[in-house]
Subunit: 275 residues, 2 copies
């Protein structure tokens, strides 16, 4: 079960930090620049430096796809370096139906063998069904995204079951109904702590993936406070660049570790204060 | 310009038929089964048999991705076989932001060099901006999809600019506003002719990509009537399996041609009757 694995790794590493793996050639450590296998080496180095500090890793498939064939090899090498007890979330933002959705589900859950995937809700339940059918894996449904344009549709007032609410709350309500196997979570941007709190109210038991800290400038403390459940858990604070690219010098792995440690501890401090 | 190229190919081939390229190993012609290059040969064969009968081709990237490295080679070989005056729409259903969205736009418009791409609107305007920036290419925004689950959110009553309307109509209205460069279209399923008509009313000038005929059982005539503009144009009736897999025997290319011809003529008959 994805959720059990997530809660276990959160507790073992005392961490709600989820490192987003976004290999960007323009920001890579200088000693790796120009190497054909730089993304593989970079991913392995980041994982080795941080595996005792995170609750999960979240490879962003768009970044790997952008690297072509070498990207897929880098992804495979990076996934192989992640200890088996740490869950991996493929940030794939899948949104398709029928045969295509089934093909994506197979590619992610059978071939790549990740623990969870992000999915887009616009196409509705039957676009998520092929993923939900893997009851031991998780889906994290995009709900209120951290980009400014997220408001364009996600904040529109909608009527669901006779009540008016913004669209993202309607998505959260449906996600709760679709959570029969305990394998559904939601994605809510840290930049919108009020929305994070609203989603937590609708979905008290669902894991919330919260991106938008750091490079995207969300406020860490308010996002953690708004997102955690009553036990101070079921939140993944997703950070990418702030950790990955903490240094471009030869100390890049150590600098990434230091950044991850500081984030993990800052998150835990907020949890402590809230008890 | 995508729209100019589309209108020109519609007129030259007297066709609103868009063949969806969904290479499925389970349905492939028997003489190609087991060949490493089957999807390339199949795509080339379909294109050669139908290039004078279509207004566009729509490769579904999920099917090519599912074939791994061979899939990308097959896609390249298939695209190379398409005459330059026929527009190609990458059915990619992109829905991401920032660096990822830019990477997808580059991959589709620079590397693959397709004329248009399908995109998911849930993440809002800034997720579409990197695509819109290619003013000579098109984006086709998922609006009312042809799957049953499309109703889950797309049909929710929403308030936009003080008016109540289903979410898909709100998407259509925003798409019209985002069409400053004349490079936006919409995707509306043939299974919902009333919704097709509503979208055409909101967006009199936008091209409408209409899937869901045939294997997905939408009614051809009602979709064409509801979708065409006042000149009987700006509609792409997307059909995949009914053409691609018309026969598994050695006559597969001829059978695909016959199916495409019948569809093109059936569509044109509806247009004639409407004049």
């Amino acid at each position: 079960m994805f959720l059990d694995k997530l809660l276990a790794s959160c507790r073992q590493n005392q961490s709600l930090l989820c490192i987003g793996l976004d290999p960007d050639p323009a920001l890579a450590p200088l000693e790796l620049v120009g190497r054909a296998d730089w993304a593989a080496r970079f991913g392995q180095g980041i994982v080795e430096a941080t595996a005792d500090l995170v609750c999960a890793y979240k490879p962003n498939l768009a970044f790997y796809e952008a690297l072509g064939t070498a990207g897929w090899q880098a992804l495979g090498a990076t996934l192989a370096a992640i200890p088996r007890h740490i869950p991996v979330i493929a940030d794939a933002k899948c949104g398709d139906v029928g045969h295509s959705a089934r093909a994506y589900a197979r590619a992610l859950f059978d071939t790549l063998n990740v623990d969870a995937a992000t999915v887009n809700p616009y196409l509705g339940f039957d676009s998520l069904e092929p993923f939900l059918a893997y009851r031991d894996r998780g889906i994290l449904v995009l709900c209120r995204t951290s980009n400014p344009g997220g408001a364009d549709f996600q904040d529109l007032p909608c009527r669901l079951d006779g009540q008016e609410m913004p669209l993202f709350e309607a998505v959260a309500r449906r996600a709760v109904q679709w959570n029969r196997a305990g394998n559904v979570g939601l994605v809510v941007g840290a930049t919108y702590p009020t929305e994070v709190a609203a989603v937590r109210g609708i979905a008290p038991d669902l894991p919330l993936l919260i991106p938008g800290i750091g490079a995207q400038a969300g406020d860490l403390a308010s996002a953690v406070r708004a997102g955690v459940d009553r036990q101070g858990e079921r939140v993944l604070i997703a950070v990418s660049r702030q950790v990955l690219y903490a240094s471009r010098g030869t100390d890049w792995a150590a600098a990434a570790r230091a950044a991850a440690l500081a984030l993990r501890d800052a998150i835990n401090q907020v949890r402590e204060l809230q008890r």
